[in-house]
């Protein structure tokens, strides 16, 4: 039997966390840990760490950590409920903002916002690049891969997949991690 009460509390907890995730999914990681490991004891500390690791290394958004938590708590239904609860509230908010943005396509305010926000995004993109370099690049070869990829794509128009493939091969050979 499916434990409906358990699914409801999964939905409530992740639904709330969804709207608290200012600054992206990683911002609410401590809260997810507190609710699922400390308060409800759905996962052990070890389970949480390996779920986190797998969600970080697998393709796709790392927010799918909640999918693994839901699965551990209540099987396939838990996985679906936790994922939807984490996605729907914040996505609905974005949907409304985007509809508003689209509706005001020709308003002068929209172009003022576009002008103001584009350089902010550039700063954020560069911050993201720096963060990847700081966390992923543990060896000199890793730094060379990052700089080489940047140069090859920017200057020589190389397809990023080639760079990422080379990076992956070097990774498997053990050149990237310590």
């Amino acid at each position: 039997m499916v434990d409906v009460q358990l699914l409801v509390s999964l939905a409530i907890i992740f639904g709330q966390i969804s709207l608290m995730a200012f600054g992206g999914g990683n911002a609410v990681l401590p809260e997810i840990h507190r609710e699922t490991v400390d308060v409800h004891q759905w996962l052990t500390e070890d389970q949480f760490v390996s779920a986190f690791t797998i969600s970080e290394i697998a393709p796709g958004p790392s927010t799918l950590l909640v999918t693994l938590i839901g699965w551990t708590v209540s099987g396939p239904y838990g996985a679906i409920v936790a994922t939807l609860a984490m996605l729907i509230p914040s996505s609905l908010l974005v949907l409304f903002v985007a509809l508003f943005w689209k509706k005001n396509e020709n308003s002068p305010w929209r172009s003022i916002f576009e002008l103001a926000l584009a350089p902010v995004a550039l700063g954020l993109i560069l911050s993201g690049a720096l963060r990847i370099v700081q966390t992923a690049d543990e060896t000199i070869i890793a730094y060379l891969v990052t700089l080489g990829a940047a140069l090859a794509i920017y200057r020589f128009n190389m397809h990023p997949l080639i760079c990422i493939g080379i990076g992956g091969v070097l990774g498997i050979l053990g050149f990237i991690t310590m």
Partner: protein, 195 residues
């Protein structure tokens, strides 16, 4: 590209299936990270669904709103292109493969050896993905290097959030009003004012 009377490009009509497939592709391509660089490359450069500035402002808004950044920008883009159905297509496209892949890994990869192998692979891909983001940053900066205020804002965001690791929301709460005021006073006055 087609332009309407306001000289703005008319967004092309994209089928929901194409949105779904495109975001499925983006999810797989961005395995090592650098997702916004892949979205930019495919959506702006290959498919020309929106301009680079439009994309950048969507990216900023998506990061300010709560929720995972990647998911927010997919929902935003889907909504702009095809309304709520488009948002749904992008979101499901982005998540369908990772959802099952992740569960398969969780249930299947119990050996630490397997995890280490994947970890090494992804670390190598991430190093290259960092370079891809860097290249996108250079490209955008190169297009706007003559625009001094633009470069100052981008540099301020990068130093405060990237280098000094100050909390993003607080930093943007200060910077965005300032850039808004600046772009309000420097905007090009339209010659004919609409109704």
């Amino acid at each position: 590209m087609v332009f309407n009377k306001d000289k703005k490009p008319v967004p092309p009509t994209v089928s929901l299936l194409e949105l779904y497939v495109t975001f499925m592709k983006i999810a797989l391509l961005s395995a090592g990270g650098g997702l916004s660089a892949w979205v930019e490359r495919i959506v702006v450069e290959d498919k020309k669904w929106c301009s680079q500035d439009e994309f950048l402002s969507m990216l900023s808004i998506s990061q300010i709103l709560p929720g995972p950044n990647v998911i927010n920008s997919s929902v935003f883009l889907g909504t702009i292109l095809r309304g709520p159905a488009g948002a749904f297509a992008c979101l499901t496209g982005l998540l369908s493969i990772p959802f099952f892949l992740l569960l398969a890994l969780w249930v299947g990869v119990s050996s630490m050896q397997g995890i280490t192998l994947i970890q090494n692979l992804i670390a190598g891909m991430a190093a290259a993905a960092g370079g891809m983001l860097l290249s996108l940053g250079l490209t955008i900066a190169g297009k706007n290097y003559h625009n001094i205020p633009y470069i100052i804002v981008a540099a301020a965001v990068f130093i405060l959030i990237g280098v000094m690791r100050l909390p993003m929301l607080q930093v943007l709460a200060v910077i965005i009003p300032l850039t808004l005021i600046h772009s309000y006073y420097t905007r090009k006055k339209p010659e004919d004012v609409h109704g």
